[in-house]
Symmetry: C2
Subunit: 344 residues, 2 copies
DNA sequence: CTGAAAGCGCTTACAG
DNA sequence: CTGAAAGCGCTTACAG
């Protein structure tokens, strides 16, 4: 099956009618439509997307930009695959396809995105791993392409975004630890300029402030978002003049290395040092002790991302009247034993 | 900047010349080419991909199909992101872009692929998580779209593929364990119909055979490719009438749950039971004891996939004269302490 | 070396 | 309800 021409010839009708029948236009005889649909199914005809795109000015594809080498290292159990699944649930309602655009580690993310936008591969975009200052936001605003950011940024603009509730997590974590007598609570944040590090740190300071605990820069440990980073963080903590008695980890993968280093020092997480991690992952409860951390549904987040993106696209705004979404995604505390240690 | 028309008008030349200049055709005055290139850069003009695709019959995009819910759960440290990076290194040489096509959990992979192929979104495909019998291979063969499979399959066809060296790993793992006196070596494989489970199991049987050890179906533990699966596997092993003294895990994530369950039973991996896992991941060496497992470069695998795919595309076969690649990817043994346990 | 024109596969006003 | 035709943005033989 080559194209609409062949299908039309086969049926002895015009390509216009075939197109209208296939696209569900109302002004087609039902008998004709049935014949067209059957023939298309039998011959496996599906419209060439390039032809449609060129004519309609729309690709019916939504892009999701991810980066191989950046923040993503901190997301173990296929964080993105879970989110994709939710996004697709929404997109499939409208016959839109999700296309993931992975930016290579050796390419500048803004340059990469510029190319993708210019090629007009997708109608709208989801970007992730937002930086404190994120040029991609300016780029997309200027290009007037609809997009939503998974993550906030200090870059101005009233684009839609959804971000995890770093503030809520920081406050609840600090509250729990302070309630157990801890006054020296360390925090592990990424060493790069990803925005979540700033948001988390600000909330951590505010939480300490509520308890009248002065902020100590020395308790902010900046490491890679990985097992290795966690190992290094524990090492730094152990070599502090006056070690922290509790720690909050921004990535649960860090916990693996963190636990390991503590064990090497003959210390037990949960008994000698209290540990709270950010997001729950499948490994959380298989650590000893299980991690106290925060739960969320990746799929639901994906659904929210998809719906909020469509809400910002003129063609779908009617179906999703939520307007420009700015949303903090709630996280639910899951108690493990890792924060049982008591201080003071 | 709307299109080539505007750019041409601006420069007072025809769109044909603009196109030729931009595409590096030799029959363009160098002075003219320079003007065109400069104007394009200044105005941020990039050809609309739909227009090019329609005219050329090629999209300049390569698809990489992944599945959210299948085998991928067993791949923790961003297995695919690492591979993508290598693939992109190759594609960027030819101004091809990588587009990842994630099949949702609730969609049939073959149906999904059929749609993607029909839409003509990409020129060629990489598929992963091949099944024992994989309809996608038949589909792609029939559609005559170039593709390479990451993973073998029993489905016939002489398409190119690259697969990890499950045989080598199974043989070396069994050899090591037998050398330490083990005769009852269990193996954990996925409970679904992914092909690697079959390949691995066959090699395991062959390896046992070389040592004159009879194959015992009871020592094949089928569980999910996850921490939870590993936990369950250890549980099953502990409740065997005559427990295995060693185990080979097909996914390293399983080790987390496996270790946990052993610890709950007061047993130490590496001391009481020997454990060898398949692929090294960042977490391998942070477990206690570190995992004995097998190392490979995700990036190099991606490069090989990219080059082998291009080799199968007429337009690039000259640059990559390797023909139809059927390749087993080597893995290097990394000693941890997890297989130190001695038996007999 | 450049321009004018055809045509890739579609969708969609416009007639009838 | 259907057909004929225009045109989306490109690339590429074909003239000159």
């Amino acid at each position: 099956m080559k194209g609409i021409r062949q299908l039309a010839d086969q049926l002895n009708i015009s390509i216009g009618t075939v197109s209208r029948a296939l696209n569900g236009r109302p002004d087609v005889n039902e008998e004709t439509r049935k014949r067209v649909l059957e023939a298309a199914a039998e011959l496996g005809y599906v419209p060439n997307q390039s032809g449609r795109s060129l004519r309609q000015g729309t690709t019916n594809a939504i892009g999701f930009m991810v980066e191989s080498g950046f923040d993503t290292a901190g997301n173990p159990d296929n964080f993105f695959l879970g989110v994709f699944d939710g996004v697709q649930t929404v997109l499939s309602r409208h016959h839109l396809d999700l296309v993931v655009l992975p930016c290579a580690t050796d390419e500048d993310p803004t340059q990469y995105l510029r190319r993708m936008v210019a090629r007009r591969l997708v109608d709208a975009l989801i970007i992730s791993a937002t930086r404190r200052k994120d040029e991609r936001i300016e780029l997309l605003n200027k290009a007037r392409i609809p997009f939503i950011a998974l993550g906030r940024s200090a870059t101005p603009g009233d684009h839609p975004w959804i971000d995890l509730d770093f503030e809520g997590v920081a406050h609840r974590a600090v509250d729990r630890l302070v309630a157990r007598g801890h006054r020296r609570v360390a925090v592990c944040v990424p060493s790069n300029d990803i925005n979540l590090g700033f948001v988390f740190l600000d909330a951590y300071r505010a939480a300490l402030g509520r308890h009248g605990i002065p902020f100590e820069p020395g308790l902010v440990i900046r490491v890679a978002s990985s097992e290795q980073g966690g190992y290094q963080a524990a090492h730094e903590l152990l070599t502090m003049a006056e070690p922290a008695t509790a720690v909050v980890l921004i990535y649960e993968l860090m916990a693996i290395g963190f636990y390991r280093r503590l064990n090497e020092a003959g210390l037990s997480p949960g008994r000698d040092i209290a540990v709270i991690a950010f997001r729950e992952s499948p490994l959380s409860r298989f650590l000893s002790p299980p991690l106290t951390c925060f739960r969320m549904s990746l799929r639901d987040l994906g659904i929210a991302l998809g719906e909020s993106l469509l809400a910002s696209m003129p063609a779908y705004a009617e179906v999703y009247p939520q307007g420009i979404v700015h949303r903090v995604w709630p996280m639910e505390l899951i108690e493990g034993g890792s924060d049982q240690a008591i201080s003071g």
